[in-house]
């Protein structure tokens, strides 16, 4: 399957409730595939928004209800989403944001790139927040990371980004799909679903006008990010034990490095690993 389509298929199978997005190359197949496949199969909501700004704010509303929601875009569109992502991070809502990176700055090119790395791992928008970022290097990982992303998003109540790129999005590889998970109707105590008489109202907000409250929220978020760093770091180390030279890479570049290390080994340099 094509990377973008495999990712979209994985979202359906992961029991995703809603997708809101806006077309941009090299990512549009996600929206197109979902528009074609999703609703009929699982009742998943798929809506083409009028902009990435609208899309991320639809995500904000829908994520606040406790549903599994996602959006996808490519670099310029992800830049437009940053204000909304910052709100979502502060309000501690789970969601999946996929960035199929293209090169920039500016309108740039539709060719693949890893140039949004810092935007993705340092937060991206205003304020001290961080995303959980997963970077697939194969189409198989594009699939597997969708499921993992939703698990992590709900476990930590934090937006998760899949940071992939135009090459992975467009390339075709064999994939093994995981079986369907049914969409759930789970109701979380933090979600806005309508207030019954039996409980206090829920409020989704990122507004902390009292400086003490803002500080408390920030300290809480930083503690959470530290814990996530401790528990959730994932990497693959290939024959690194005795290596003289270790190539460190993520995403598409990781598979290029694998190849380079293989070639080096074949040429007799045993100590190059990834």
């Amino acid at each position: 399957m094509k990377g973008n389509e495999a990712l979209a298929e994985a979202a359906i199978r992961a029991g995703c409730d809603a997708y809101f997005g806006y077309p941009i190359t090299p990512q549009s197949e996600v929206l197109e595939y979902l528009a074609r496949e999703a609703h009929a199969r699982t009742g998943m909501v798929v809506l083409q928004a009028e902009s990435e700004i609208a899309a991320i704010n639809m995500i904000y509303g829908a994520a606040g209800t406790g549903k599994k929601v996602m959006t996808s875009s490519s670099s310029p569109g992800i830049s437009l989403m940053q204000e909304g992502i910052s709100y979502i991070a502060c309000a501690e809502l789970p969601c999946l944001i996929v960035n199929v990176v293209r090169a920039g700055p500016g309108l740039g090119t539709i060719q693949p790139s890893q140039s949004d790395y810092f935007q993705a791992v340092k937060g991206g928008g205003h304020g001290d927040y961080k995303l959980i970022v997963l970077a697939p290097s194969t189409v198989q990982e594009m699939v597997d990371h969708v499921k993992l992303a939703f698990e992590l998003a709900f476990k930590w109540r934090n937006p998760v980004m899949i940071l992939t790129d135009g090459a992975l999005g467009q390339m075709m590889e064999k994939v093994e799909l995981f079986p369907h998970t049914a969409r759930t109707n789970e109701i979380y105590d933090w979600a806005t679903v309508g207030k019954p008489k039996t409980r206090e109202r829920t409020i989704i907000t990122s507004l902390n006008i009292q400086p003490e409250k803002m500080q408390e929220v920030n300290l809480h978020l930083q503690r959470k990010y530290k814990e996530i760093e401790k528990e959730e770091i994932r990497y693959e180390a290939i024959d690194c034990e005795d290596a003289d030279l270790i190539l460190v890479a993520f995403g598409l570049v990781a598979r290029i490095c694998k190849k380079a290390a293989d070639l080096a080994k074949r040429k007799g340099n045993q100590s190059c690993s990834v």
Partner: protein, 268 residues
């Protein structure tokens, strides 16, 4: 109950304000006891009360989700005793869309100022309306940016003095006051579109009826309802509440004329 609310409940209890055999008009259950932060005489408070009354009368507290704007009503969720979400400045109708799409059987409304809805959020407003999202949008038009201290709004009248148009709004320079409600009324996705005010008792009653209609049409899944409430901003208009209502009547209402802009066609 939030700490702060509990405090005010206690104060009210102690003063026995509400404990009377003669209560004829009470705070609906859908409003909290938190005193509103709005300036004296501001229309926001009246608009809140009307929405809360309608939700209580329709008995839909458990099915209603509100979306607060960025503007003076940013703390609306402190006053409504219902589930609510904030939205980034201008994006309330997109947030409301997100909620409604995943919870189609709930009642969803957004509450937005003129800067929020008709400047920074124009795109979301038009497209939400054009999709005919089955929600209610309440649009508070006070002709000014209240929260940020009285700058020009898209709806500020020609010649109106604001902090960013200190010599009066020059329409050649700053553009014309935007009648976005007239624009919205043209969109086929919009089922009901009306303009009301809350400056007199009669207008308050009409405004409540309009809000009631909006929720009712939503229940009937008719599409989008849009209720503009022309209000005052005594503080940034630099007037007393009474003066501001007079100014509203003499200046705002001739330009933003009250009445229905789109009403449901009779179904045979």
């Amino acid at each position: 109950m939030l700490e702060e609310e509990k405090h005010y409940e206690d104060v009210i209890e102690q003063e026995s304000i509400c404990i009377s055999d003669n209560v004829v008009y009470d705070k609906p259950e859908t409003l909290t006891s938190t005193p509103m932060h709005y300036c004296p005489g501001c229309g926001h408070g009246v608009a809140h009360r009307l929405i809360a009354e309608v939700i209580a009368e329709l008995d839909i507290q458990d099915k209603t989700i509100g979306v607060a704007p960025v503007g003076c009503a940013v703390f609306a969720y402190n006053y409504f005793n219902i589930d609510m979400s904030e939205a980034a400045h201008g994006r309330a109708s997109a947030v409301a869309t997100g909620i409604k799409r995943v919870l189609p059987d709930k009642y969803v409304f957004s509450y937005q100022g003129d800067g929020d809805l008709a400047a920074i959020g124009t795109g979301e407003t038009i497209h939400t309306c054009n999709r005919g999202e089955n929600i209610l949008i309440i649009f508070i038009n006070n002709g000014i940016y209240g929260m940020t201290g009285g700058q020009m709004a898209p709806t500020s009248l020609a010649g109106m003095k604001t902090t960013t148009t200190p010599f009066g709004r020059d329409v050649g320079e700053a553009g014309y006051p935007l009648k976005i409600t007239e624009l919205i009324a043209q969109l086929p996705g919009v089922y009901y579109c009306t303009r009301v005010a809350v400056n007199t008792p009669n207008n308050v009653r009409r405004a409540k009826k309009a809000i009631y209609n909006g929720f009712k049409y939503q229940e009937l899944k008719k599409g989008l309802s849009f209720v503009e409430i022309v209000t005052n901003c005594p503080s940034n208009w630099k007037m007393t509440p009474v003066e501001s209502n007079k100014w509203l009547e003499e200046n705002m209402l001739p330009f933003y004329q009250l009445g229905d802009l789109k009403v449901p066609q009779k179904e045979n």
